[in-house]
């Protein structure tokens, strides 16, 4: 009999055999604590996982009441008495096989087994150490909430529920990962989400066959199409308020235990340019900052490529003053401009990667070394021209304006640079066609990624090209269903 098959076996009624089976299945792991005692005239054992339960809560809410039970005839009577007369924990359930028993044990439940009982009573008294609710690190908001998701799924569920007190908000818990047994929660507004979307997400989640689920990256590929897509048709957010706004628009979300991000399905390209602050400021300023983000994204992707293409292939496009300036700057550079651009961009990517991976105190040192020493020295020594460095810096800055699309911006910027350097504006145009088609072919669950631009949906433009006033926005009664094709 394999280990998996043994885990599916029903719980043994003999207490000693039961404990021996638990020890065997846990491999004698030191953090599985088994405490034998007698209560109500029945031999029992309380099992918990060290560090996963709150010792104080367990002692006050479970140990105290359970050990004080008057004599009962059998284990079944004892369990009936506990179930009917004692409210030991709000989160209580039963385990009838070892698979469930271990899942509950490893989720911070205290389990009570008794001699002669064919099940275990489980009481949720989780008390494991976890990071508190903090400000989201990657999705800053000036006028919005400063609460971000945390690693504990129950906390995240409560953060959503606190903002959406509607009974229409449904949270379906499921377990994914053969080994990790990770809690995954599907959230949606019952009255808003398209039924077809929900059914297809459920099917996609049911198809997941993984050993472990350790980040959103484990689940997202199962929620997206298999074909090559540059952009992801599922989004992530670490803000409960943003997630609530998505749920109201009829989207669904997936929370994963241990991950401070929620997956949002479906995601559209235009959403990468929206921020929560857009809805806090006056519409005219929101429209301005939104268009600033569109321009920044295009600059982030195309600026180095266009600069290189113009300097290498189309100098006639520059006016004479600018041409003389550039020619003067580039004539001293030892490398061809395409190679120079690649070196500068790759150097920036290395600095960025080092800044992310290094401990925070060392990150500051990296900034000083890269910005002040390498950058200044490269320009002064003439290895890199000042205009090129300026263009690269502007492009990088543009990329930082839309952090959601950072991976795509990084790769596309290099690809467009190569196309522009080799084939000029013609090369950029060809690559743009291919990229545009790839973006337009991105579609999951029948929601085109490029909506509401193409296919054009006028009702969606009120929150894409512009940002309507709140009264007009609410009058639209918009849900994502409007984009379904």
């Amino acid at each position: 009999m394999t280990r998996n098959e043994r885990e599916k076996l029903p719980i043994l009624t003999e207490l000693s055999d039961n404990i021996a089976r638990i020890n065997e299945l846990s491999g004698g792991s030191s953090d599985v604590l088994v405490n034998r005692f007698v209560t109500g005239g029945v031999e029992c054992a309380l099992i918990c996982c060290e560090g996963m339960v709150s010792s104080q809560t367990a002692a006050e809410m479970i140990l105290g009441p359970v050990t004080g039970i008057a004599s009962q005839g059998s284990a079944d009577e004892l369990f009936s008495h506990i179930q009917d007369n004692l409210l030991l924990s709000a989160d209580r359930t039963e385990a009838r096989d070892y698979d469930t028993l271990f899942r509950l044990l490893n989720s911070g439940f205290v389990l009570l087994i008794a001699d002669g009982a064919d099940c275990a009573l489980a009481f949720g008294v989780q008390g494991y150490a976890s990071r508190g609710i903090q400000e989201p690190s990657g999705e800053g908001s000036i006028l919005g909430s400063h609460e971000g998701f945390t690693e504990v799924i129950r906390t995240n569920m409560s953060l959503i529920r606190r903002r959406m007190k509607s009974p229409e908000l449904v949270m379906e818990l499921m377990v994914k990962g053969e080994r990790s047994r990770t809690d995954v929660c599907l959230c949606y507004m019952r009255d808003r989400v398209p039924k077809r979307l929900l059914d297809r997400i459920r099917r996609s989640l049911a198809d997941i066959r993984l050993e472990s689920v350790l980040s959103t990256g484990y689940i997202r590929p199962f929620l997206e199409k298999r074909s090559f897509e540059l952009f992801s048709s599922t989004g992530i957010t670490e803000r409960p308020d943003v997630l609530c706004s998505k749920l109201i628009e009829g989207r669904a979300a997936v929370l994963i235990d241990g991950v401070p991000y929620a997956i949002v399905v479906p995601r559209l390209l235009c959403e990468s340019f929206h921020t929560l602050d857009d809805y806090a400021y006056k519409p005219y300023y929101a429209v301005f900052s939104r268009w600033l983000r569109y321009v920044a994204f295009i600059a982030a992707v195309l600026l180095p490529a266009v600069y290189t293409a113009i300097v290498m292939h189309h100098p006639e496009l520059l006016n004479s003053t600018l041409l003389m300036l550039l020619a003067d700057a580039e004539k001293n550079a030892p490398l061809p401009i395409l190679a120079e651009s690649f070196v500068v961009l790759l150097m920036y990517e290395m600095v960025r990667e080092a800044g992310i991976r290094l401990p925070k105190p060392a990150g500051g040192a990296v900034s000083i070394i890269s910005g002040l020493i390498i950058g200044d020295a490269a320009v002064k020594s003439g290895i890199v021209s000042t205009p090129l460095l300026t263009m690269t810096a502007l492009a990088v800055l543009g990329g930082l304006v839309v952090p959601d699309l950072a991976p795509q911006v990084t790769v596309l910027r290099l690809a467009f640079l190569a196309a522009g350097g080799i084939m000029g504006v013609f090369g950029i145009s060809l690559l743009a066609c291919a990229v545009l088609t790839n973006i337009c072919s991105t579609e999951d669950y029948g929601f085109p990624f490029t909506a509401p631009l193409s296919p054009f949906a006028a009702e969606g433009m009120g929150d894409t090209a512009v940002r309507l006033g709140m009264r007009k926005m609410l009058r639209r009664g918009f849900t994502v269903e409007a984009y379904h094709e």
């Binding site: 496009l317 004479s320 145009s429 088609t437």
Partner: protein, 336 residues
């Protein structure tokens, strides 16, 4: 079947028409603009029987193999013509490596073909969606060119004497409409009423042709004898800023439109090949593009007023309804 909206279909087709106008050779005058616009309206009348037929549920799968084969051959030939047009237009539009011998030309043609293969393989929906965005960007660029052209235009060019006749310009207009074969194929993909789709497309085509040609006439009317590509030259001469050239805008539009025009031909050819030669299961699009590129290498772009091209374009609109009419007539006779 993947369905597209009439706006998407119109965008797909108009890109091809704009590209054909960019590559239009020979003298043009106001009569040319009128002739092309009037030609578009005549094309609409010719397309009405086809649209009505499609509205009644007729698809190309219902047509005979011979008809599909004729359409396919037309599509491949027009695809080849597009490659030839691109090659010849590159004498006035700078495309890196295009003028550096055979290898350069092959590299450019290969690159375009590769991008077209990718675009076509993404499916008609993705192609249509991206074509709308490309057409939108193109419209903005063309608007900039038109506005800047108006600043530098000479209205007296309208009155320049010309020996051109309306009939001659009508034939030219038909000759530059080789993409009508793909319209016949794509019409069945339209989710809306086919008659409305045809009306939208041909109306837009008439307006587009008239605006572009009229602008070209008022800009380049005085130098018509020394230029080969009037529309392209007009775009190059139309600079909105006194110290800044904006040719790259036009080059971008030209390249994007070239790619989409070819991709539409390839997609339509692929669809027809699937219907006509079902045994050919793989690489249909690649094969179609390879044939087009090879034809483009040996063909020449149509010269002014080519009656053969005009007749072929008109025939493409009529061939399907004509066949249905003949089949219907034969069916009735058999029943009788």
């Amino acid at each position: 079947m993947n369905k597209i909206s009439r706006h998407q279909l119109a965008a797909l087709m108009l890109i091809g028409d704009a590209f054909a106008l960019f590559c239009l050779r020979g003298r043009i005058c106001v009569m040319t603009a009128v002739g092309f616009a009037a030609g578009s309206l005549i094309q609409f009348l010719l397309a009405l029987p086809l649209a009505r037929l499609c509205d009644r549920g007729h698809t190309l799968a219902d047509s005979g193999r011979a008809v599909r084969l004729i359409l396919l051959v037309n599509m491949l030939l027009w695809g080849g013509t597009l490659f030839a047009m691109l090659r010849e237009a590159s004498t006035v539009i700078y495309i890196p490596y295009e003028n550096s011998g055979v290898s350069g030309r092959l590299a450019v043609a290969g690159l375009i073909a590769a991008v077209c293969v990718y675009i076509s393989s993404s499916g008609i929906k993705a192609l249509a969606r991206s074509a709308v965005i490309a057409a939108g960007l193109g419209a903005v660029c063309v608007a900039i060119v038109v506005v800047s052209a108006l600043i530098q235009s000479d209205m007296s060019n309208i009155l320049r004497p010309t020996d051109s006749t309306l009939l001659h310009e009508l034939i030219r207009g038909f000759g530059a409409s080789g993409g009508l074969g793909s319209f016949v194929v794509l019409l069945s993909f339209s989710a809306d009423s086919k008659t409305n789709t045809a009306a939208l497309y041909f109306t837009c085509k008439a307006v587009l042709s008239f605006v572009m040609l009229f602008t070209a006439v008022i800009v380049t009317g005085g130098i018509m004898d020394v230029i080969s590509f009037p529309v392209t030259s007009a775009a190059q001469l139309s600079q909105p800023f006194p110290v800044q050239r904006t040719d790259s805008l036009f080059l971008t539009v030209f390249s994007v439109f070239a790619v989409y025009t070819t991709a539409v031909q390839a997609s339509a050819a692929e669809y027809l090949a699937a219907l006509t030669v079902p045994r050919l299961r793989r690489f249909r699009c690649t094969l179609a593009l390879a044939i087009m590129a090879a034809l483009g290498a040996v063909m020449r772009a149509p010269s002014s007023g080519t009656a053969v091209y005009a007749a072929a374009a008109a025939a493409m609109l009529l061939i399907v309804p004509a066949e249905a009419l003949v089949k219907g007539g034969l069916g009735k006779r058999e029943k009788a």
